[in-house]
């Protein structure tokens, strides 16, 4: 705004009252435009004018307002540079328009005005330096990201998760089976021998969808997750089957989480059943036993309602990123923040109240070791909630976007693993049951990762912590 100074001298005293052309300017009229060649110097008689700059993306920054006896346009005339700001009338105004020739003659004849303009210029340069420094500090702090951001968000999530679990009626142990007596194991070779000699009953502990897809020929299915409800029927069937009384009960169907098989064996023992064992190599049975196998069948899809529709929105990012001005738009970042924040809060709230349900979803993916299942099921929903809130409230948005992006990458890895292994499981993302695992879901998650990248790179509007709450000093 080098050509828009708030003049403090009176035009009459500076002898500019006798020159120039008086013009009336209706409200909304643009008097000078940023970038155009300077032709006139203006003095305001009456009214109010707005000075602003505008970027190529049409982001407008209001710089100042000018009133009666203020003047503008002198610097561009002195330097011969294009206008660096635009001026428009906020209300109906009356101006004196002075041509370059008249202005030059005026300066030659009026040293008082010349000195005044020099003082204005010098003052503006100093103010400009300060403004530049403030803006640089502001931008650096805004772009700054530190480990503290991540520690803060993860720390809050862990504390909230652990405290909430204490008071939750549906609380789960931090580590499943921790401190409980171990379950007897047998080797796969020994199990095969028992199978061949018909000295064992094999019980598949997995969900029925897994059992239907592939199981040891002749085995029974008792899904561990429905043990309480289904055990009476299972026990009755066992009692009615001749010759099983003295047989060994071999429980199988574990994953790396060792959740189903070990837990079911432990429950059998608690019910007083004898000779209960699990196979030590939980992954080996499909290779060494006669198998009943059916073609993979995807889990049925239950309509998700509004959440299902909402999930399609991020897919639009694939189109938006093709348009550079939109790709770089901070308004897209704000939209992305609100959208991702809302959807992750919705994700979180569907899991927080019943961590046991989500823990079983984690087990289904077969990627998490036993010690991590419950911790993950407890902490992840709170991390989703905290990051979602941080995104919406504009606190630590770059770090929040990084964490949400990281979560999405983990989800994508899980989904791809499940798809490639034809697992008959639910996604466990928004709904608790009936939510499919497919490539469309993967695409939606990839879109959300792209949204996180866009936020990380271009977010700068509507953030609450601009310049504040920075623990680490940084030299500018």
């Amino acid at each position: 705004m080098e050509d828009t100074k708030k003049g403090t001298g009176e035009p009459a005293a500076l002898k500019i009252g006798q020159i120039g052309l008086e013009v009336n300017v209706p409200a909304g009229t643009r008097i000078v435009s940023q970038g155009e060649a300077p032709e006139f110097f203006y003095v305001i008689r009456t009214g109010r004018l707005r000075v602003f700059r505008e970027t190529e993306d049409r982001i407008r920054t209001e710089l100042t307002e000018l009133g009666p006896d203020n003047y503008f346009g002198e610097v561009a005339l002195v330097t011969g540079q294009p206008r660096t700001a635009s001026v428009e009338a906020a209300v109906d105004s009356k101006l004196v328009k002075v041509s370059k020739e008249e202005f030059d003659r005026l300066l030659d004849q009026n040293p008082q005005l010349a000195r005044h303009i020099i003082q204005q210029l010098a003052g503006w340069l100093v103010a400009g330096d300060r403004r530049l420094e403030t803006e640089v500090v502001h931008q650096v702090k805004l772009r700054q990201i530190s480990w503290f951001d991540y520690v803060l968000m993860i720390g809050i999530s862990i504390v909230l998760a652990l405290v909430f679990n204490i008071y939750n009626d549906n609380r789960i142990p931090l580590i499943q089976g921790w401190g409980l007596p171990s379950v007897p194991e047998i080797t796969v070779g020994k199990a095969v021998q028992l199978y061949r000699e018909n000295k064992a009953v094999f019980v598949d502990a997995r969900k029925s969808a897994f059992y239907d897809q592939e199981h040891i020929k002749g085995s029974m299915n008792l899904p561990e997750i429905l043990f309480d409800i289904m055990y009476p029927m299972f026990h009755f069937t066992l009692e009615q089957t001749p010759g099983v009384k003295d047989k060994t009960l071999v429980v199988y169907g574990g994953t790396i989480s060792r959740r189903m098989d070990v837990d079911l064996a432990r429950r059998f023992i608690s019910k007083g059943l004898k000779n209960v064992v699990v196979m030590n190599d939980y992954w080996a049975w499909p290779q060494v036993f006669p198998i009943v196998k059916r073609p993979p069948k995807a889990a049925p899809t239950m309509p998700l309602g509004w959440a299902g529709i909402l999930e399609w929105i991020p897919v639009s990012i694939f189109l938006l990123i093709l348009i550079p001005p939109i790709r770089r738009s901070p308004y897209l970042s704000v939209f992305g923040r609100v959208f991702l924040g809302a959807i992750f809060i919705a994700f979180a709230l569907s899991k927080i109240m019943r961590p046991a349900v989500f823990a079983l979803n984690v087990v289904d993916y077969g990627m998490m070791p036993a010690w991590g299942v419950n911790l993950w099921a407890l902490i992840l929903p709170w991390a989703e909630l905290v990051c979602g809130l941080f995104l919406i409230l504009g606190i630590r948005t770059r770090a929040a976007a990084t964490l949400i992006g990281a979560m999405n990458i983990i989800f994508i890895a899980g989904l791809v693993h499940a798809i490639l292994n034809h697992m008959p499981i639910n996604c466990g993302c928004v709904g608790e049951v009936g939510e499919p695992v497919n490539w469309v879901k993967v695409m939606k998650n990839v879109a959300m990762v792209l949204m996180c990248v866009q936020i990380f790179l271009y977010d700068r509007f509507f953030v609450l912590d601009r310049g504040g709450f920075i623990l680490r000093d940084r030299k500018i």
Binding site: N170, I345, A356, L393
Partner: protein, 125 residues
């Protein structure tokens, strides 16, 4: 200081509102009551299903009772066991009949080999 306080207050407010809203589901009243399985199981008689209005419930067979919690979602009864299992129960005939999908998953139509059908005995709970 004031700004920090407002931020913290907004943060906690959103969490509380969210959790309250998450706790509010569809009304349980239309499906609260006691039910009896149409068939007998495990040689021990009928399964008794009691759905209380406060969201608690019991599943009883042969003197053994299992407690659970339940809610209504999209017109279906979701039964949550302590261990994290979910039974999706589809009401029919205005709630007089319930079909429990015993696979622990949801299927369009209760799978014939894994379905327990209940008939309402009394309303309310």
């Amino acid at each position: 200081m004031k700004k920090e306080f407002l931020k913290t207050a907004a943060f906690l407010g959103v969490i509380i509102v969210g959790l309250v809203l998450a706790g509010c589901g569809e009304s349980r009243t239309p499906f609260a009551g006691t039910y009896k399985s149409v068939e007998t199981y495990a040689g021990k008689g009928n399964i008794a299903l009691d759905l209380k209005e406060d969201g608690r419930g019991t599943w009883s067979l042969g003197g053994k009772t299992v407690e659970f919690t339940w809610l209504i979602n999209e017109g279906k009864v979701f039964i949550y066991t302590k261990t994290g299992g979910i039974l999706v129960v589809t009401p029919s005939q205005g709630g007089k009949m319930l079909s429990a999908d015993m696979t622990g998953e949801w299927h369009p139509g209760c799978p014939p080999n894994s379905c327990v059908t209940f008939m309402r005995v009394t309303e309310g709970g």
